[in-house]
Symmetry: C2
Subunit: 166 residues, 2 copies
DNA sequence: TATTGTTATACTCTATAACTATA
DNA sequence: TATAGTTATAGAGTATAACAATA
């Protein structure tokens, strides 16, 4: 059946065993040794705050990322947004359409590629994005309030080292 | 090279950069200043590797977390798993049932609470979990290979500082 | 009355296949 | 042929309401 390899390596560092954990006290020592577990928990915690603040502008997290990239890359195409944010093209269509319906962005013919459309912020979009970016910057201190400025800088550097393709 | 701009009809919005970014070069400088953006990217990168390795055991990431918590907390209840992993009770039912059908876990009457069921690993479940935990530990070095051991330790400490309650 | 485990269900997010028009 | 944008749709993940058994 599940003929397992007889490789009995030492399991994780075991902790004083409570046979039946009472309410509330759960041993998470092993999971907390894993970068993936901690990174996921931390990102969910920060993004939870992010979502709340962005809801004021009627933006989801991805909406904000798209608008911010458009602000700093006028004329960017959907394809470039997809590649940068790891979003699949079909999943960006509705998002772009909604932003356009709200009058925040404009789609113009691409100057050098007839297939593509250049994405541009409208004045209203620029205004909203500037406000949202300011909110995002302010939020950093609140969402990571337990970190010193130096720790925050170190954290970002190490995170980028993890996910940067090289 | 004489960079003479004879006429500037309209002042550029904010960024003096290339009005039409060519393929591939997208300015992500602002997003990269945000902890949330970097944490999400890093967690997705690590968990992507995690998913691939766990697929060998027929486990998803949450399956692994559940089995690991059961290994270190024998008799843990569904409710405790939900509280620890931030999973809603209805979303854990099918997961537990599937692990039971595979013969990896057992549900026994809780010794002190007639409503609850204590969750226990079967011998097969213990064996699989031990292997999966070893794989998870090995994976750390691969998924975060660009970090030194000291950096990895620092990263985990800072991430926990971000998401730890109180 | 409150809580555990559960069912049913809805909503969101993500993934795949295929079409069109341009290159 | 390859790519940009799009449509339709399937699947996974996450959410709320409500119920029976027990505290």
């Amino acid at each position: 059946m599940p003929s397992v390899q007889p490789i009995k390596k030492k399991t994780a560092p075991t902790v004083p065993a409570t046979p039946t954990p009472p309410t509330g006290s759960v041993d998470t020592a092993f999971l907390r040794t894993l970068v993936g577990y901690n990174a996921r928990r931390a990102s969910l915690a920060v993004i939870e705050v992010f979502m709340e603040r962005m809801a004021v502008y009627g933006l989801k997290v991805v909406d904000f990322s798209v608008l911010s990239l458009m602000a700093h890359n006028p004329g960017i195409t959907s394809r470039q947004l997809c590649a940068t944010l790891d979003v699949l093209p079909p999943n960006l269509v509705g998002l772009i359409a909604a932003l356009e319906r709200r009058g925040l962005i404009e789609r113009r013919p691409h100057p050098s590629d007839g297939r593509a459309l250049g994405l541009h912020l409208t004045p209203a979009g620029m205004d909203l994005t500037a406000q949202a970016e300011q909110t995002a910057a302010d939020l950093e201190m609140d969402a990571t309030g337990r970190l010193t400025a130096a720790e925050r800088k170190t954290l970002i550097r190490l995170l980028q080292k993890v996910y940067s393709r090289g």
